[in-house]
Symmetry: C2
Subunit: 111 residues, 2 copies
DNA sequence: TATATTAATCGTAATATTGCAATATATAAA
DNA sequence: TTTATATATTGCAATATTACGATTAATATA
């Protein structure tokens, strides 16, 4: 096993899980925070900022890129990475409405 | 390797990552959605609702319980699981402010 | 063209996650 | 006490993730 049975869940459930998974590693959280902070960056900065080896950072960047959370444009020998603002809004909506689930039914707790 | 270097990240970064990781599997997303929907539940219901074996569900419930996201009280031979509303508010604040990062600096995008 | 710089990719080791069958545990009912 | 029911735990196989050294690819500069 070791493989997630995505086919038995709804599209929304899988989307929430995929996005949450992207934020499920502190290095990727740190990368995103740094990109927001300086609003543009090259991979080398991140290697210095975060204490992980260059291939490791590159791998995390790839994951974020594959999900469309960040985008990178080549600038000479380096790459300028930044947050995809449009995608970020979508993520906020998807995860935001998931987190806001407690407002949908004004119930009292059971236990 | 295969082990996350938590010690090089801030407490907040690790907290965000841990919480996000909890939502990083569609089964756990589905469990949480179901618990919110019916606002009280036993494990057996979840096994029927979600198409995974009983030990698998039990394992996912354990993870959510360890993080304090859900709590369970024994009722006869079954266990009543439900969302910890207080913890949920904390989660909303932690992840919410992470997602709201784009509002902190009114920058324009770089790329 | 040769060399330096930067980031991506490859290969691999260590560890984590997912899933389930089998079993154990705990309580309720007969 | 025996039996049924519900959930937890154990053990294990398959796969995924994390991390990094070595290498490659691509561009800039001397």
């Amino acid at each position: 096993m070791g493989i997630t049975k995505s086919e038995i869940f709804t599209e929304t459930q899988n989307e929430i899980a995929l996005l949450a998974k992207a934020f499920g590693h502190p290095a990727r959280v740190a990368i995103i925070q740094y990109l927001f902070k300086i609003n543009a960056c090259v991979c080398g900065d991140l290697v210095n900022e975060i204490g992980l080896a260059q291939p490791t950072i590159s791998q995390h960047l790839k994951e974020l890129k594959q999900l469309g959370i960040i985008k990178g444009t080549v600038e000479g020998t380096s790459v300028c990475y930044c947050i995809d603002q449009t995608k970020w809004q979508t993520i906020k909506e998807v995860l935001g409405s998931f987190l806001d689930m407690d407002n949908c039914n004004a119930n009292t707790s059971c236990c």
